[in-house]
């Protein structure tokens, strides 16, 4: 996974609330079994709408979104598609929970800020101002304001280092897992029958 520490530049503003994963990545493109190049399908049914701010020619790394962004399905194609457009940071008041987690696994940073702070960032984005995201410092800076944001320590560390979840668990916790399995086999043997 590609590490992330700072992202600086202009941002896209998409104010709409409840932008669900079907809007981000319409279901019919889920037939594609690839992971790369999905930016071509991002927001496919919205692009024709006049004034829609995200296109395939996107050159901005930060998206300021409306509340409950990425609600709906678990499809990881949503962050893959957004990431493929070069977006690495999404800032919103709230996120769909599965989407939020999926971002981290793909080297992307979702940031929760309060409604007033997000509104101010929308204004900066629309005015073409620069936004500065610093993961190590946990801050978003824009128009002279420095806004601290919350992020779980383990997620921050993984993103800064570009760690892969699966390989970390295998490297650090194999013995813990084996111990757990031995105990569960005794406590709940019905979960360990030959045919499940």
């Amino acid at each position: 996974m590609k590490p992330l520490s700072t992202v600086t530049g202009q941002a896209i503003s998409l104010r709409e609330a409840d932008v669900d994963t079907d809007i981000i990545y319409p279901a019919r493109f889920l037939l594609v079994t690839e992971k790369k190049g999905l930016g071509a399908y991002a927001f496919a049914d919205r692009r024709a709408t006049p004034g829609f701010p995200i296109g395939e020619d996107n050159d901005r790394g930060i998206l300021i979104a409306g509340p409950n962004f990425g609600c709906g399905s678990s499809r990881e194609q949503a962050p893959w598609a957004i990431g493929d457009l070069g977006i690495r940071v999404v800032i919103a008041e709230s996120f769909g929970e599965i989407f939020y987690g999926n971002c981290f696994r793909n080297g992307m940073l979702p940031i929760r800020l309060d409604a007033a702070q997000v509104a101010a960032l929308h204004d900066v984005a629309e005015a073409g101002g620069t936004i500065d995201v610093d993961l190590a410092a946990r801050t978003v800076s824009a128009a002279g304001d420095v806004l601290p944001f919350d992020i779980a320590d383990d997620r921050r560390e993984a993103l800064l280092n570009g760690w892969n979840d699966t390989l970390r668990i295998l490297a650090l916790h194999q013995d813990d897992v084996s111990r757990f399995e031995a105990a569960q086999r005794r406590a709940a043997p019905w979960l360990w029958t030959a045919r499940i």
Binding site: E34, N68, D165
Partner: protein, 457 residues
């Protein structure tokens, strides 16, 4: 200390802890063709194997056609995707339930009916409606494709503990009202993101009175309120449903399992972070009017005037002050992991008896699984639906997600038993009204949304 059901499920699965999170052991993993191609690819890239293949079960449901299943799949991409799942499963030693077999169906329908889903387990699937399995008192939640890979390789996932919310439905449901209406009433009350970060436990007299099918409908739609997990404590209804299912424990193991399962209820004095009480006896049939499941009204009311709904109402071609009763529909869909089980088909059939679908309405029944289909056919439900002008199809997700050729044209308006009314969910530009199976049947017969309680028997 007093614990909630969620707390008990959590505590029995912690492998390690760090940074306020737990590495949770995952007992069962369901796979389908859409969310796993990239998961297997990730395993290959890192040269990994599947730790316990016997705990994983795969089936194709999302992109499969619901007709002409004796022929090869027409759509080239769908055919490739289904074939890829089968190949990946063979390569990694995972059991795949073939499309032509008796066990195929929607992941969330087949897990429970095979007894693969059990109380007290952790169960995941690359699909947000995995919350369905919480109806059995299992800690079940949807994950992304990367996590599917992590589960296959490690049998674990790092998770942050959720806050808890108890939703108590007091009293009993009135006739003509179902678990779907309970779910829509709850979502309408808390909003589409109202339960984010929470594990929801459903309780109260109306929940205890629900069949397993009804409880699955309720837990299924929990994700539409933003919560990944919905739960109902296992009880006699649960045990009776699971007994003798093909993969449920047997003999002494069954007895030991049931003894443990009986401990899986929230302690009487357990504290929840949030409590919501809904009077079940006051719930009317609900219908969504917008493009998010929380944009929903009970029948007998009119659409609210609220600027927040402008975009949705424009898309749906409705106006504030409109009543949902009388809105004409041209499509009807009975199916999905929300309402594609036998009880749902029976509820729809009970409304239909002797009547016919209105002119200009295309109506589809898609059983949730081969087992549901066979059971329905044994009762003659297929003949009843066909005689009434419904199409009787093969199992799959179908019009719930419109990834196969069951797709609505722009501007179509559909009465649907599925779970999401998002823009374009049933086809670009199509409009979806979510409601119960009985309500969809009534709408199909009338050619417009009607109150099923007023449809003469």
């Amino acid at each position: 200390m007093a614990r909630t059901l969620y707390g008990k499920l959590w505590d029995t699965h912690v492998v390690a802890e760090a940074d306020g999170k737990a590495l949770l052991y995952i007992d069962r993993h369901l796979l389908h063709e859409v969310s796993t191609p990239q998961s297997f690819e990730a395993l290959r890239e890192d040269g990994l194997t599947v730790r316990r293949p016997e705990t994983q079960l795969a089936v194709a449901d999302h992109s499969v056609p619901t007709h002409d299943r004796d022929k090869p799949i027409d759509d080239r991409q769908a055919a490739a995707q289904v074939a890829l799942l089968e190949r990946n499963c063979a390569a990694f030693g995972i059991e795949y339930l073939p499309l032509a077999g008796n066990d195929q169906g929607i992941v969330h329908v087949i897990g429970p009916e095979l007894g693969f889903t059990l109380p007290g387990i952790t169960l995941v699937c690359g699909d947000s409606h995995t919350s369905t399995h919480g109806a059995f008192g299992a800690l079940a939640f949807g994950i992304g494709a990367s996590e599917c890979g992590t589960v296959m390789a490690t049998q674990t996932l790092w998770q942050a503990r959720a806050r808890t919310m108890r939703v108590t439905f007091t009293g009993r449901l009135a006739p003509g009202v179902s678990a779907k209406d309970m779910a829509l009433a709850f979502i309408g009350e808390v909003g589409a993101s109202g339960a984010v970060g929470h594990a929801v436990e459903y309780a109260g007299e109306a929940v205890a009175a629900l069949s397993m099918e009804g409880r699955m409908t309720l837990c299924n739609m929990t994700i539409e309120a933003g919560a990944r997990t919905g739960l109902v404590a296992p009880d006699e209804t649960t045990f009776a449903y699971l007994r003798d299912r093909p993969r449920a424990p047997r003999g002494e193991q069954w007895d030991a399992a049931v003894a443990f399962w009986r401990t899986l209820a929230s302690d009487a004095d357990a504290a929840f972070d949030r409590e919501i009480v809904i009077a079940a006896d006051g719930i009317a049939p609900h219908v969504t009017f917008g493009t998010s499941p929380d944009q929903v009204v009970p029948l007998g009311t009119v659409l609210p005037a609220d600027a927040r709904f402008d975009r949705a109402l424009h898309y749906m071609d409705l106006r504030p002050g409109d009543a949902m009763e009388g809105v004409p529909i041209d499509h009807a869909f009975i199916g999905s992991c929300t309402n594609g089980r036998l009880e749902d088909l029976r509820a729809a059939a009970a409304v239909i008896r002797g009547r016919h679908v209105a002119d200009g309405v295309r109506a589809l029944v898609v059983p949730g699984s081969m087992r549901v289909k066979a059971a329905a056919e044994a009762e003659g439900l297929d003949r009843l639906f066909v005689a009434a002008g419904f199409e009787w199809r093969e199992p799959g997700c179908s019009l719930c997600v419109a990834m196969n050729d069951d797709r609505l044209p722009p501007g179509a308006r559909c009465a649907s038993t599925s779970n999401r009314n998002f823009e374009g969910r049933q086809g670009a530009g199509a409009r979806t009204h979510l409601m119960s199976p009985a309500m969809v049947a009534a709408a199909a017969l009338a050619g417009r949304i009607v109150d099923v309680r007023q449809v003469a028997r």
